[in-house]
């Protein structure tokens, strides 16, 4: 066997705390190692060329790439060894960055650890077998869950490109929160008009099926052929979709959970969302005194919401302007920590609001106390370090965005992950902000974290383009890691059959052993861990491989 080891410096990241020269020297003398090289950035063009050309020139049987975590650049590295003439499943990635150089500062110990990890990779991969990716036909249709502005944007694009779109909305009406906005900043347009326009276009398209007042009750299948059961007012309906865009939006923060703010106890304490309906119903006096509170339900660790909701500073400014426009001689005071008027045009809007006479006080409001004369706002002025107490006729709470109500429900049906704040977790915060770890399942708009309308539209359309790119050929490749039964070892106890959630294991009555339906198997490995006789395992992930890896880690170096 000819093994090639490629060790990356990752710029500073690995080289700083791992003695790469020592690692290289160690493996140059190692049994069966034909190539041991180090390089500043293996992911760069010359780094890639190094791997490809050496694999080809030496006719390597195994390639070990010791660099970043295997979740990064996996497809790229697989492609490289393939171009070098090696079956891509004979590639082994070793994480010497995340699992080693980033963990400790001690160069000596880190270097030892890097050697052990790479050795584990060498031993483990000796049990690998060449595998082939499967080509599967994909259904050229998409399910969009959530009919807010991001979901509608995704549906518009996909249907324009000729894909069949199932748009699933749990409410009776499409449009989400934007439908409730009267004067959407910065366009000044009416939210329901914006939505109606989008919905009309969708309704005119034959390849769009809209399900309102509908809930998804089950979900299964795999990339290219997902299947969902919908509970519609007309009864149950099953749809098949190549991919899914989750766009279930956000839940406005409910200030009831901050009882000190008196919300719900007094009509003079309202949220920015309620203010969308205008000031007329509020029975304000001629020159009203209005307080606007920023960050209600955000940047607040005590209630478990440490994050910034991104849009509520602008909403607070909008609230101030709404009051000033209607009552020129009103007294409006905004209480803030930082004014995050960051969107395009936001800073100008902030200046404009100040010019209209809205006062900005840097302060923390501790409580709001309703009295017959008004609502009493109490707290601390953090600029002057004084206590503040002022009486107002109205207090407007600029509420933040909380995760959507169905976050857990949808996450468990689709088997996707939530982040620490219980929004959906993206695959990579920078370059894959709307992908999930599952192929063909995307998260768009506010369900992955606070966003304004423009950003939600961007997300909806950008994720739709990605999905279209995955499905437009009508076929795709999937990984071959499916379960495999060793008929000699299988005792027919059927424990795995119980464990398999994909119902991929069938009992063969004649032979009295189990068999795997490869098309249904999702490669989760549950069966593997239940089998008492080690008779079922995943292709390419033999038990012996793991045993030898553990052995390598423990061996003296």
């Amino acid at each position: 066997m000819k093994i090639g080891i490629f060790l990356c410096h990752c710029g500073h990241n690995i080289k700083h705390t791992v003695d790469v020269a020592r690692v290289k020297e160690y493996f140059q003398k190692f049994l069966n190692v034909a190539v041991a090289e180090d390089y500043p950035f293996l992911c760069s063009e010359p780094g890639q060329e190094l791997i490809r050309s050496r694999t080809e020139a030496e006719g390597l049987d195994r390639v070990i790439i010791a660099a970043c975590a295997p979740t990064l650049h996996q497809d790229m590295f697989k492609d490289l060894v393939k171009k070098g003439g090696l079956n891509p499943f004979l590639l082994r990635r070793v994480s010497v960055r995340e699992h080693c150089s980033w963990v400790g500062d001690d160069i000596g110990k880190n270097t030892d650890k890097a050697i052990r990890l790479i050795k584990a990779g060498v031993y483990g991969s000796s049990h690998y077998i060449p595998l082939e990716e499967k080509q599967v036909d994909v259904t050229q249709s998409a399910m969009v869950i959530g009919g807010g502005v991001s979901g509608l944007s995704a549906a518009l694009f996909l249907s324009n490109q000729g894909m069949h779109v199932y748009l699933v909305e749990k409410e009776a009406e499409l449009g989400g929160h934007v439908r409730k906005l009267r004067n959407v900043w910065p366009s000044g347009k009416d939210g329901s008009e914006l939505i109606d326009e989008m919905v009309e276009t969708l309704r005119d398209r034959e390849n769009v099926e809209i399900f309102t007042s509908t809930r998804m009750v089950s979900f299964g299948g795999s990339f290219g052929n997902y299947e969902a059961t919908l509970e519609t007012p007309a009864g149950e309906s099953t749809v098949k979709a190549g991919g899914v865009i989750v766009a279930i939006g956000f839940a406005p923060f409910d200030p009831i959970s901050k009882p000190e703010l008196g919300y719900g106890k007094d009509k003079r304490i309202v949220t920015t969302l309620e203010l969308e309906n205008g000031l007329d119903e509020l029975g304000l006096p001629a020159n009203p005194r209005v307080a606007v509170l920023h960050c209600v339900g955000s940047r607040d660790e005590q209630i478990g919401k440490p994050y910034c909701s991104r849009v509520c500073c602008i909403n607070a400014l909008r609230a101030g302007q709404t009051v000033k426009e209607k009552f020129e001689h009103s007294y409006v005071e905004s209480f803030y920590m930082d004014v995050r008027a960051h969107p395009k045009g936001g800073e100008e809007f902030y200046e404009d609001t100040q010019e209209k006479g809205v006062l900005f006080t840097r302060g923390n409001v501790g409580e709001i106390i309703p009295t017959p004369a008004g609502v009493l706002v109490r707290g601390e002025d953090t600029l002057f370090g004084e206590l503040l107490e002022r009486e107002f006729d109205l207090a407007v709470l600029s509420i933040g965005m909380s995760p959507p109500k169905d976050n857990q429900y949808i996450a468990s049906l689709l088997k996707i992950t939530l982040d620490k704040d219980k929004f959906f977790l993206e695959a990579h915060p920078k370059l894959r902000p709307y992908d999930t770890a599952l192929k063909g399942i995307f998260i768009a708009g506010t369900c992955s974290g606070p966003k304004d309308m423009e950003e939600s539209i961007n997300h909806g359309r950008a994720s739709a383009v990605k999905l279209f790119g995955l499905l437009n050929l009508g076929y795709a490749f999937v990984e071959p890691f499916v379960a495999m039964v060793d008929p000699k070892r299988c005792s027919g106890c059927r424990a795995c059959e119980q464990a398999c959630v994909a119902k991929a294991i069938k009992f063969d009555d004649g032979e009295r052993i189990v068999r795997v339906e490869e098309a249904a198997c999702m490669g989760c490995g549950l069966c593997n861990s239940t089998c008492p006789s080690s008779a079922i395992g995943l292709k390419g992930h033999a038990d012996s491989s793991i045993n030898d890896e553990v052995g390598a880690i423990l061996e003296a170096i």
Binding site: N13, E45, D419
Partner: protein, 434 residues
């Protein structure tokens, strides 16, 4: 569907930063042919100049280079560097474009990027390196940075003695084993038809020499945020060592909103990235200079993105002092630079000594964006960013021309990526219309 009918359509993407890269890759994966023009010698834009990216502190090269390589290797993307559009005429639904391609003087097919030429060049170590913001020197034949895509050397015509003055012994030509250097290469004009155009020309930064009171350009130890990125980076002038003029600074002072939120500089807008890149810089300093003293001056800390507030909090908790108030001036004191600032929270006027002051300069539209927009009759806003509307965030005033990234206003990387995807979606709709 998809592939079959789109295959003949051809889109021009102008600019090879993360915005243009995203748009190009999405278009190509949907079956379209793409030509990408990059004015510089390599794609990657500003992001490839960064050391790490907030809020994850992911290494910028590590996330971006694979995308750059993907562009170069994609069978449906044609990459042209040192190239920009010179003339554009509407032609039916699409555009006839003449592209100016500057000479590289190195045959891309032959160059192996061995670097022998650079070592032999008589101008070696004498010309300012733009990629490192002139903080280091290079030869006249060079590669802008180790991970450049394409991975090919080029001759800087202005710096090369032979190209600019006609006389040099041309040691590089001797040194090159593959005979890749060709001084006969001429500027080319390429005429082509495109069905649609995506603009992604990115941004420039505010010229801090305009703020005389901060002494940028005259005081030693005052630098800009982007320069500081290069100082932090392994591929930068110090190889990633935090060393300035031979010493490791101990007292760091960061000033936010330099050339943003500031009418005097003509920019009322917020640049949207400088609060966070400052927090990132402070965190990097805390990590690498254990006993550093770190101050940040701010008006508001705009940590609005996912996990940004948490990142800001942890920067503070790591021992960075945030001072609300923007310094009036910086002068040379006896034991370092003197930063004079009114701390608005305490009302105190303070004088703080620092070894290094980093100015978080704001974003500006690129100067040549104006030229590009005039060619295309695309509207710009009062600051010169390309005008769009918030309902169709990539649509410009000219049909068939779309924009993404910083060119339409300040955006961080995730927002640029999403806007690149959105631009691709509008572009696909446009070219699909009959």
């Amino acid at each position: 569907m998809g592939e079959r009918y789109l295959q003949e359509k051809h889109v021009l993407v102008v600019g090879g930063g993360i915005g243009g890269i995203t748009a190009a890759l999405e278009l190509a994966s949907c079956g379209v042919r793409v030509t990408m023009l990059e004015g510089g010698p390599s794609i990657g834009g500003r992001m490839i100049q960064l050391d790490k990216t907030f809020p994850t502190l992911d290494c910028s090269s590590c996330t971006l280079t694979p995308k750059m390589v993907e562009v170069a290797l994609h069978p449906r993307i044609e990459l042209m560097t040192l190239a920009k559009p010179m003339g554009i005429e509407r032609n039916g639904k699409g555009f006839s474009v003449s592209i100016q391609k500057r000479p590289r003087f190195v045959d891309m097919k032959k160059c192996t990027a061995c670097g022998a030429c650079s070592g032999a060049c008589v101008m070696k170590g004498r010309l300012s390196d733009e990629f490192n913001l002139r903080l280091s020197k290079r030869a006249a034949i060079y590669i802008p940075f180790p991970q450049a895509v394409p991975q090919k050397y080029l001759v800087d015509g202005d710096g090369c003695l032979f190209v600019s003055r006609g006389k040099c012994k041309k040691a590089c030509v001797e040194a090159c084993e593959t005979r890749a250097i060709n001084f006969d290469e001429k500027e080319e004009i390429i005429e082509s038809y495109y069905d649609a155009i995506v603009l992604a020309p990115g941004f420039d930064l505010y010229d801090a020499t305009e703020k005389r009171e901060y002494g940028y350009g005259s005081l030693e130890g005052v630098m800009t945020g982007i320069e500081f990125e290069r100082i932090c980076s392994v591929t930068g002038p110090t190889g990633g060592e935090m060393v300035i003029n031979g010493k490791t600074p101990k007292r760091f002072y960061f000033i936010q909103c330099v050339g943003s939120r500031d009418r005097q500089t003509g920019a009322r807008f917020c640049s949207r990235v400088c609060c966070m890149y400052t927090a990132k810089h402070a965190t990097i300093v805390r990590d690498r200079v254990k006993d550093a003293e770190i101050y940040v001056s701010y008006i508001d800390v705009r940590a609005y993105g996912k996990n940004y507030e948490e990142f800001y909090k942890s920067t503070q908790e790591g021992g960075t002092y945030y001072i609300r108030g923007i310094p009036g001036d910086i002068t040379q004191g006896e034991k370092g630079l003197l930063v004079r600032v009114e701390d608005m929270l305490s009302g105190e006027l303070r004088e703080i000594e620092a070894d290094l002051v980093v100015l978080a300069t704001g974003v500006r539209p690129r100067k040549d964006t104006a030229e590009l927009c005039n060619l295309l009759k695309v509207d710009r806003d009062e600051y010169g960013f390309i005008r769009t509307d918030s309902i169709a965030p990539s649509r410009t005033s000219t049909k068939g021309v779309f924009v993404c990234g910083m060119a339409s206003g300040p955006k961080d990387v995730p927002d640029t990526v999403a806007s690149g995807g959105e631009a691709a979606s509008r572009c696909l709709e446009y070219i699909g219309e009959q």
